[in-house]
Subunit: 314 residues, 2 copies
């Protein structure tokens, strides 16, 4: 059942022992949402417990340290920034949350009560409003957690989901003198050595097709082994080929098994990534889509290059 | 002579033929400042001329096309975002502007009258206030120009010069429905093919020292020739080594002549880049400094690595 934010606030006010759930593979927005809300409630005298199926990456340590760990049987279970039950991950996927607070238009309404605002660039924008509705103070730690969610979900205010409201909230949070410079450095300007070594190998194997309008990089299991790169290190690597001036189809080939490859396609106008991938049984969004192809790397590369040629000749 | 912004507005109101000067090697902030102010004045019936010692890069085309070119003998010369006369560049360096509007604390007061606000993250923040003081409307084109200056000078709101006021102004400008997504993509997520090829070569030659606390890349003249990279393509490449997790000294070696190298040093706490470079007769800021060293590349690399070891052992 969909509810208003005021009703969500009332549910939180009425409860004393609250479990807050994040999505698996936790990111800045789910972590920021959970800990900002958790800290606001805990400082108000509520008992709060945090739940996530995966360990929260160390770079969010300045957020996770702001809530005191507690153990108890919860009377209210809240999920934040979680669009669907399976995204709660292994440990929590069978729980039906009493309350879901989310900003994904695709939310499946899997909770008992759900507040969704798909205009919010980050779920942390909703949590900001919720804490105000609850009449709870926003201290520096809460401000830093909320800022982190907003900053990471908008690519530091770069992406088109950013709204004037996003900037207005950021202005309010910054007035709390948070160390946003360090936060942004950690989130955007820090790479592991493995990531840098992997990028180097991937760039070494970059290929250009169709008069440089299509660029392709390949990440093999051998390359990951060689550099010690984990799936965490691969995040965002699919953005590389499309960044190049003039490229309208950027393709990233990732080896899953010796003869199975996961393909990520990122495009610029007028190329439809989902149309491109549909030819291989895949799909997605207009500028970001994917598919899987079986075969040797040579064969897969060939298939993709000829699909690009076919598409760009149209 | 230092003046208030109100007086700057009065000077502009009193003049009819205005030449607006930018700094050489023009960036988003000087271009955005000049054209936003120029368009606001021109739409108000003033005659406006733009001056820059260098050609304005094509990526700012959506800004430069918004002012109609005019030729005349100016009655008022204004410089925007220009900290010192030599920065006006070859064509304009001997002119003494009647009015300078700037956000650099280091402004040398080389103009007849100067308004400086060093708290402004971007000069475009000042121009935004100035246009309001002049009671002129901000249309979509002016908003896009101002947003560009603010976004580029703050690394898209990432750097510590960003203030709550920066975000508040961005919110106002975005309300004009500017295409900020495309602006940010052009400014931050577009690389030339030469740049990508050069990065690949530079990463290929990346070396680590002192247990990975020092990282070093080298850009030789041969590498620039091979990839077709120009000095424009090298912008920001010095950020690469310091981005790596754990690295506190990031060094970029650029070959100037066969046996002359320009060294850029970027550090994290607690290393002082200027102290590091002082040993080689260079200097700069605490986190960004530089020097020049003569010798073979092998010798220069050795000298820098042993300086790093010496520094990190302290």
């Amino acid at each position: 059942m969909k509810i208003e934010l005021r009703q969500a606030a009332d549910m939180l006010s009425a409860a004393d022992h609250i479990l807050i759930l994040m999505h698996h593979f936790p990111d800045g927005d789910t972590v920021g949402s959970a800990y900002a809300l958790g800290r606001a409630l805990q400082q108000h005298g509520k008992h709060v417990q945090m739940g996530c199926s995966h360990a929260i990456p160390a770079r969010y340590g300045y957020i996770t340290e702001t809530v005191q760990p507690e153990t108890f049987e919860p009377s209210l279970i809240v999920a934040v920034d979680v669009a669907d039950a399976p995204l709660l991950g292994e440990t929590y996927k069978d729980i039906v949350p009493d309350l879901v607070i989310d900003h994904h238009g695709s939310n499946t309404l899997y909770g008992r009560r759900t507040y969704v605002d798909s205009d919010a660039a980050a779920n942390c924008e909703i949590i900001y409003r919720l804490i105000h509705l609850l009449n709870l103070p926003i201290d520096r730690q809460i401000a830093a957690a909320l800022y982190t969610g907003i900053s990471t979900d908008t690519g530091c205010f770069k992406f088109t989901n950013t709204t004037p409201e996003t900037h207005r909230i950021a202005a309010e949070l910054m007035a709390m003198e948070i160390d946003f410079g360090t936060i942004n450095r950690i989130m955007f300007d820090t790479k592991t050595k493995s990531r840098v070594l992997l990028e180097r190998l991937a760039l070494d194997h970059m290929q250009f097709f169709c008069g440089d309008r299509c660029a392709m990089i390949t990440v093999t299991t051998q390359m990951c082994r060689q550099t010690g790169a984990t799936s965490d290190d691969l995040e965002g690597i699919t953005a590389l080929p499309r960044q190049i001036e003039g490229v309208v189809i950027g393709i990233t080939i990732r080896q899953r098994e010796p003869e199975l490859f996961k393909i990520s396609v990122r495009t610029h106008e007028p190329v439809s990534a989902s149309e491109f991938c549909a030819a291989f049984g895949g799909g997605g969004h207009i500028r970001a889509a994917g598919c899987e192809i079986r075969g040797s790397l040579e064969r897969v590369t060939e298939l993709l290059a000829s699909r690009a040629a076919e598409y760009l000749e149209k």
